[in-house]
Symmetry: C2
Subunit: 352 residues, 2 copies
């Protein structure tokens, strides 16, 4: 039974348009969805009515009817961590291009918020979910929700394929390896690692890359030069102090915020970078070039990270049912000043 006529304070519905154009809702629907089966005269009448009533399809109703929302959920730890905005832009760009929208949630790497976010996304019936999980384990309840939900998940920055079938990660082994090699190339011999939290999927790879980089350079691996942080600036500071007390001459720091803390600790201790110790930092930002010294970094392709994740998700949505896919994104070493490395060696007199 058709709805009532458009009341003054409410948005026009497809029925209002149909009545105004003296056609059926079917015809209106056909016009709105760009079907070709409509006679020009009818089409014009409908379009005129749409303009007149300022009709705008109700996406809620459409989603309910079609059983798909064309919306992708995305859970990130914290949008105010400067790492994530570009990941989100990458995801958004890829999603938009295929007619999908992004519904974003912050989890603060907190089990409960994570669970709430997931609950919300599932209740809103998103078509698939990008789950960015840097550290901490999965609450069993959350793991179960993922398993029981019938929609595809793509894990980001976490390669625990027991959680989801597909994942896209940075190649942490490679990043640590490259960083370590560069520190060695810059003449460093007592190299420390300021890593992420322990027991994380990428922690092992990073440690291994660090280890192998030292070995390949003929240096020995000393576990007491390995320090664990949690990617936050304060921790970079406190752990950085302990770390610097061991007098390393090189540090690989596994994210930018921790590097900020590390440099603050160094300053308080009267240590200069790169003179007293060199630094390679994971992940780069356009505004870093006003830092002195300019940071030598291993950049992860953040934008691409988001893009690829969406691509995997859309493949599943398009029906791909093959085995799980793990994409590793290659990091890129960007040599600047914080290691004191020069491609062209300075004259011997000026060498350190």
């Amino acid at each position: 039974m058709p709805n009532k006529p458009a009341s003054p304070g409410k948005a026009a519905s497809i029925y209002d348009v149909a009545k105004e154009a003296r056609v059926s809702v079917f015809t209106v629907s056909a016009v709105v969805n760009g079907k070709t089966h409509v006679t020009p005269r009818f089409r014009e009448r409908v379009e005129a009515a749409i303009r007149k009533l300022h009709y705008r399809p109700n996406l809620l109703a459409r989603s309910l009817a079609k059983q798909e929302t064309h919306t992708l959920g995305m859970i990130v730890p914290d949008i105010s961590n400067p790492f994530f905005p570009m990941v989100i832009r990458g995801a958004e760009e890829a999603a938009q291009r295929h007619g999908y929208n992004l519904l974003l949630c912050n989890s603060d790497d907190n089990q409960e918020k994570e669970s709430n976010a997931l609950e919300l996304l599932l209740a809103k019936r998103v078509d698939g979910i990008l789950f960015t999980k840097v550290f901490s384990d999965l609450k069993p309840a959350v793991a179960r929700m993922i398993r029981e939900s019938k929609i595809p998940f793509v894990l980001m920055l976490n390669n625990n394929l027991k959680i989801a079938r597909d994942a896209v990660v940075a190649d942490d082994y490679r990043a640590a390896y490259e960083a370590t090699m560069h520190l060695v190339r810059s003449g460093r011999k007592r190299i420390a690692l300021l890593g992420g939290p322990p027991k994380v999927s990428n922690g092992e790879a990073r440690l291994q890359g660090f280890h192998d980089g030292l070995k390949a350079s003929g240096l020995s691996f000393d576990p007491s030069f390995v320090f664990e942080g949690d990617y936050r600036s304060e921790t970079g500071y406190t752990v950085g102090k302990r770390l610097l007390q061991r007098w390393p001459d090189g540090v690989y720091s596994a994210n930018f915020l921790m590097t900020v803390g590390l440099l603050r600790a160094a300053q308080e201790m009267g240590l200069a970078c790169p003179d007293d110790f060199g630094t390679v930092n994971l992940d780069d930002y356009p505004w870093l070039d006003i830092l002195r010294p300019k940071l030598t970094t291993v950049e992860l392709p953040k934008f691409q990270l988001g893009q690829e994740a969406v691509r995997l998700l859309l493949d599943r949505l398009a029906g791909y049912a093959g085995p799980g896919i793990l994409k590793k994104l290659l990091p890129e070493l960007r040599i600047r000043e914080s290691c004191g490395f020069q491609l062209r060696r300075p004259p011997a007199s000026a060498r350190r």
Copy 2:
């Protein structure tokens, strides 16, 4: 007529639960929504069925039926501009606390994307919209959409109350005034303004604050020391070069990204901060303290900006129908090193 029994691949509906618990959908709905009118025995049966079937209410259907989504739309120029994440967090926090979610869109300060974003939010039937608009004018079509939509809008960083009834902005007059005064206090006499784009709502206030600051200090206002940018780093660089060629000894730069460009330009020109020119930068970040010199800034309360905006919106949603409200957030001067100002004057021998 009740729906079919739960098919294997689909989520359980309220009907499935009702059948499983041998009650009506009404009772299930009452339990789900925490009504008190349900007999304990019925309630238990329903809850057991919910657990068994992993039932989760479909928010699409609920929104359609209740004609409200409990979702607020938010349009920001660019999430990867480090200014906005904290604004978003503030808005999100306030929204969550009142049972609302945020649906985020990037406009890239681009008329078409802005229009698309608005269209999407309206089609998704959000209950209200936070519209962050730093610069550029409103396309007539967009202005019309806002006017015709029956939902409340709150404008952010833009006080054009012809667009929306309520708005929350930073006090740009005050920020510019304070910054200018501080530059003068630091002994600067040839002070330049690196502002935002022209013809923007806050442009005039900023210019006036700058002007009044000079006047109050007995300095004369020279229009050729006023430069216009667009809040991007590249522009800070190019405009910064022109600006520095006029040999100012102080610059008020109206956002962080432009300051980055400005400092890069200065470096290329062999100019040192704060020795050759002092700088006050609008808007502060926790990781700025590893910059040398540490930037003296006028911070805008970003988190609070988002919070207050949501508060205004929720007031409208709660039925407030009074006159429009314009909230101005007071900036906060944070004195550090980039002006060369010392609270405790150094011995005369060391003075500049």
